[in-house]
């Protein structure tokens, strides 16, 4: 509920603040609104998913829900993947609905609807939600207490959001490593990949990123890059979720 209010509220706030009427760097109307929405989402969605999901198994274990619910004849596979699907619907639908509301309201106001951007963001948010949901379930499967799970979740979020960038920037400045390698490491971070992909539809040449764009677009076409930015986080989420399941299956349940 709170989660839906945050994302719905963001969109409402943008309309109230007149974002659709402003123009910055050539982005205007609904495109600009969606760009701002996605820039904020990239920061809050991962931590929202991590903190609300990371306790799903460890929390159930802490308060003995797991002990009771698993005393019924359901397989561990059904329990684990059922929980993931349930959580996915809970975290993804509010974010998607907020965008749908923006598009519907924008259309009502007579704005041009940027369908390509809308569908790209739908895919990107789907992939990003999958990645962090997978990571959260992976943590939840091996951590014994909810407090530790929260601590790890927060560390991962801040690490991916800022620490990697700061470390890579300093390495780049010291010119210790090849720039291509640094950019590769940077883009292995699903949050960074999401950021770049979010810009790529407005700015296919990625000019706002400066010389880094050459490295990316020289090695991969723009459409392949967009596919990678959806496929990679999705695969990452599935791999982590699967590893989490294996741990859940092999460890003591309570």
């Amino acid at each position: 509920m709170v989660y839906s209010l945050v994302f719905g509220g963001l969109i409402a706030l943008f309309f109230i603040a007149g974002v659709t009427e402003s123009q910055v760097m050539g982005f205007s109307g609904l495109s600009r609104l969606l760009l701002m929405y996605i820039q904020i989402t990239i920061v809050i969605l991962p931590i929202f998913i991590l903190i609300t999901t990371v306790r799903s198994i460890s929390g159930d274990r802490d308060n003995h829900i797991l002990e009771y619910m698993l005393s019924f004849p359901i397989s561990l596979k059904q329990y684990y993947w059922g929980k993931i699907i349930g959580r996915f619907i809970t975290v993804y639908l509010p974010v998607l609905f907020a965008m749908v509301i923006a598009v519907v309201y924008g259309a009502f106001k007579g704005a041009d609807i940027p369908w390509a951007i809308f569908f790209l963001y739908t895919g990107l948010l789907f992939a990003l939600s999958s990645a962090f949901l997978g990571i959260a379930f992976f943590i939840s499967s091996f951590v014994k207490s909810s407090e530790v799970a929260l601590g790890i979740a927060f560390f991962i979020w801040i690490f991916l959001l800022a620490f990697i960038d700061i470390a890579l920037i300093s390495l780049m400045m010291q010119q210790r490593f090849n720039e291509g390698l640094i950019i590769f490491i940077s883009l292995a971070n699903p949050m960074e990949l999401f950021r770049v992909a979010a810009i790529s539809l407005f700015d296919p040449e990625l000019t706002v990123m400066g010389p880094v764009a050459f490295y990316i677009l020289d090695s991969i076409s723009q459409s392949a890059f967009v596919l990678l930015s959806i496929g990679y986080p999705l695969a990452l989420g599935l791999i982590f979720a699967f590893l989490g399941y294996k741990i859940f299956e092999k460890k003591d349940l309570v």
Binding site: N63, H64, I65, E67, Y68, M69, L70, S71, F72, P73, I74, S75, L76, K250, K251, D252, L253, V254
Partner: protein, 212 residues
């Protein structure tokens, strides 16, 4: 029905079950007793397939509860000492039990009624918002409706008033035939009339096993 052979379970360096062997057969009602940390809960959780043993094994009707958990758990009803704070409504909980364990919904409502739980008025209420006694009554009703061959109760009457305890014992008496009833308890006098075997545990071992 339940065969435990040389079962050892350690948590780090702490030995919770130390080479425990015992067998529970049909028509046995067992009081499992012992001080805190004696290994009672670990034994029960091993029967439910929650723990991977360090040594030895548990067989329920010849099946390993870790490897064949769904088949084994069809035969077991379990009521924990403290009802967990399940966020599902009563209706959703009944639905979960009904779908997962193929338990007749009407039978759950029947036993809830027998336990004097006003279930119809609370159907849409979250389970964790019910009082301690109401939660316990609901879990007992589910355990009886499941019609399992093995019923495990961990301090089942802790939250019940004297009237509800009487209802519980009456219903158990009606349902004990051809079953294994396993009570974890600190108060033998409460289940004395129901049990025909008493097991005492201490420091992870069975120190006394008497037929009464």
């Amino acid at each position: 029905m339940i065969k435990i052979s040389q079962l050892t379970k350690k948590f780090g360096s702490h030995v919770s079950l130390d080479n425990v062997s015992c067998e529970f057969r049909k028509n046995e009602s067992i009081a499992l007793m012992g001080a805190n940390g004696a290994g009672k809960t670990t034994l029960i959780r091993s029967i439910l397939g929650y723990y991977h043993p360090d040594h030895g094994d548990v067989l329920i009707n010849g099946l390993n509860p870790v490897k064949e958990r769904t088949k084994v758990l069809r035969e077991i009803s379990f009521v924990p000492q403290l009802p967990p704070p399940i966020k599902l409504s009563l209706d959703e909980l009944i639905q979960y039990v009904s779908v997962s364990a193929n338990v007749d919904r009407e039978l759950m409502l029947h036993y809830a009624d027998e336990m004097k739980l006003d279930i119809k008025a609370n159907m849409n209420k979250s389970f964790f918002k019910l009082s301690g006694g109401m939660k316990q009554k609901m879990l007992i009703a589910i355990s009886l409706a499941k019609k399992s061959g093995i019923i495990i109760y961990d301090e089942p009457t802790a939250n019940l008033d004297p009237k509800a305890r009487d209802d519980f014992y009456r219903l158990l008496k009606q349902n004990e035939d051809e079953k294994v009833l396993l009570f974890v308890t600190h108060r033998l006098e409460e289940v004395k009339d129901l049990v025909n075997r008493q097991i005492y545990m201490d420091l992870g071992k069975i120190v006394s096993d008497e037929i009464v």
